[in-house]
Amino acid sequence: MGRYSPITTSDQELMLAKLGLSSIDDLYKQVSKDLLIDGLDIPSGKSEMEVRQIMTDLAAKNKVYRSIFRGAGAYNHYIPALVKQIVSKEEFLTTYTPYQAEISQGVLQSIFEYQTMICQLTGMEIANASIYDGATAAAEAVNMTMTRKQNKILISETVHPMTIETIQTYANSVNNEVIIVPQKDGVTDVEKLAAMLEDDVACFVLQQPNYFGQIEEAEKIGALLKENKQKFIMSINPVAGVKLKTPFECQADIATGEGQPLGLDLAFGGPYLGFLAASKEFLHKIPGRIVGETEDTEGKRGYVLTLQAREQHIRRERASSNICSNQAHCALTASVYMTVMGPEGLKDVARQCYSKTHYLADALTQIPTIELKYPGEFFHEFVTTSTKPAIDILEKLDEENILGGYPLNETDILWCATEMNSKEDIDRLASIVKEVM
């Protein structure tokens, strides 16, 4: 039976004797007898070897595709060996939240470095130490913009459906209204947006590139919102963010995004990484932990968790967010990834994703009946539409161990190509799809 405790039977006897007790169950004498259970109806404990076999068998029931052409919120990127090795260091894995600053300078400095990198990526002035994922980062950003007189939320129809649903779920519980701004030709209908900017609207949420991979008119939207009184929340893909105009350049008030592409495994959806950055005016409204630089009593540079009076452990019911544990280890992974890749490496990733996706789009649209659904620029995802069922294409690809694009409905597919897809992969995919049509 599996145990990790070093306490032996003879230890137990000695300890109980010191406490003047005869049995370990005496420690539970305050528990009413009717609540004590008779045993657990779960399997008996096992040896490490047996457990390994069970878990490995479970894993074997999952299929790992040779090629992945699906994004839709989770992206297949190359993760350098050094990243995995560094983040698996036991100190980083088993350490607690760095409340005791003097013994946690390593963690605190790594978070400070992460915050800096997120500021660089988004162009914004301040960043926090992470939120659970891109969807919750957007929901927390929305909360930051709520005021007494402004409690309506506008979201573009082109934002990831799971992000919209998360924001809606958060808003429902406090009766804040969520209004969807419709799309036109695969991007936000800016004219309609302008007409919806009522005084009681707190913010507008945009995703760049959007769910369909299309590039939004973020600068135009930013200028529009600046003229009015609504806050602009821009949720970005960090790889595309290396090349596209930054949230800062688009006059966003708050930048959020899903950091999974920055060195985190696909991992069936989690754990991922939400990043959040904002202009200085939001300093006291930012949720979650923040690390700041300071000095010790001898003038030496050091790092601490700061502005903690924003947080739940001090503000309690007056806190604007309840977040406690965040995605610290995932944030570390992202900052190691950004360090190993460096700015040129990241630009290379972005460049390759952009070029390969356009190469894929060209190859697919040359096949009869397949067309691009939307006009306009896209980054590393795009939607095709066809008169033939999407399922036929995807099943054939599946047989060839290729995970094709994500079926949005019976005829439309959302494709993605990254640096992990070679020209041969793409050519092969195109020829298989051609056969199907």
């Binding site: 406490l19 528990v31 300078q105 500021c119 799971m162 069936f268 739940q312 460096g342």
Partner: protein
Amino acid sequence: MKLIFEKSKHGIKNDMLPPLDVPEVELPTMLQRKQALNLPEVAQPDITRHYSALAKRTHGANDGFYPLGSCTMKYNPKLNDEMASLPNFTKIHPLQPVETVQGALEVFALAEKYLCEITGMDKMTFQPAAGAHGELTGLMIIKAYHTAKKDFKRNKIIVPDSAHGTNPASASMVGYKTVNVPSDENGCVDPEELRKVVGDDTAGIMLTNPNTLGKYEENISEVTKIVHDAGGLNYYDGANLNAVMGVVRPGDMGFDVIHLNLHKTFSTPHGGGGPGSGPIGVKNILEPFLPNDHPVQETSGKFNLMKPEQSIGRVKGFYGHFLVDVRALTYILYLGAEGIPHAAKTAVLNANYLMEGLKEFYKVGYPGICMHEFVLSLKDIKKETGVTALDVAKMILDYDMYPPTMYFPTIVPEALMIEPTETESKETLDEVIRIYGEIHETIYSDPEKVKSAPHRMVVKRLDEVKAARQPKLAYQFD
């Protein structure tokens, strides 16, 4: 120590990708960012040294005794990490066809089955990312329940004054007002005081058992009945489950919804502050409200994802912290039916043994048998010597040991909350008693030394006021 940016040298690039093998297409210039992207340019040998240096300035449960009350810093088994690294877990896309991820869905289903048995609940979702996130989800479910019954006047959540800060904060996020109920002299919820505050505006109560003082709530069944009789629901904060798992079950105590902290009770690593996992367990009456994309096993035996009929929606993208849940499942399989209660009982034994040894030197906040943790109050020491709980915590650092939780729960003045967990040996506990005794001596013989601690860390005490008044939150590039 330098920041990674201060080690950067222009022109260094680590070769990770092959050259572009398709024709290059340029993003239109007017769409391109002009703002600089200052990221480190450091070669791999120097990167690895940088992070080694950071690791040396980090102290994990792997390095020594870590008695943080309410955090359950137990041993993080390495088998768990290996299983969470299996390619057939790490390389699967969340939107793959359901037939191709049956193993992943079965992980969720098995974890749900075993944890429901351990907690006495009927269904469980793993979507919430952490304990606080679980609280949020659970409260949303409570609200949805009352709303579905058109019971709109229930706008208050009751919490004991000893509650963790996330409890009232979560209540506020769901639009509930928090009502505090005072603890009695034993640190427990007083049923009489509770009766005064419940009413038809009570949506529910949030409790943990054992409570944040490490005391078992003897009247728990009476307490949950009072809330049920008033029409409210009972929420269990599972942070302290390590004291009672396999011995008693929150579902049997009258709780309708619970959250667990897998990164506490179920051994998944803390990672410097996350990722955790905060699954929510519910009784059948609340099942219809669970979040979207709930893994279920159909009658055919196949696993699928479904949306409960009156689902609250979703609280984050995808399905939850899958790799964290893989670790927790591995742990549960290893410990098994006998190992789970054994771990709990040993945790409680260790805490009582340690408390017995320490009470010679320090005042115990609530005397008598404790559960997995206990609180010391240094109020008298502060009065006599001026030395505070914070000072003592900083002094403990000089012994290369992690201090207990300070100043929580807030109802105990100068609190130090200690939770050894079951994975500490008797020898370690005896050594801890010896060290805390030595510190006690120093408090009276040389209080200045304690007040100016730590002396042996890489930094002395840090200026937190400056950090807050003059916030510097990112490195400034020239």
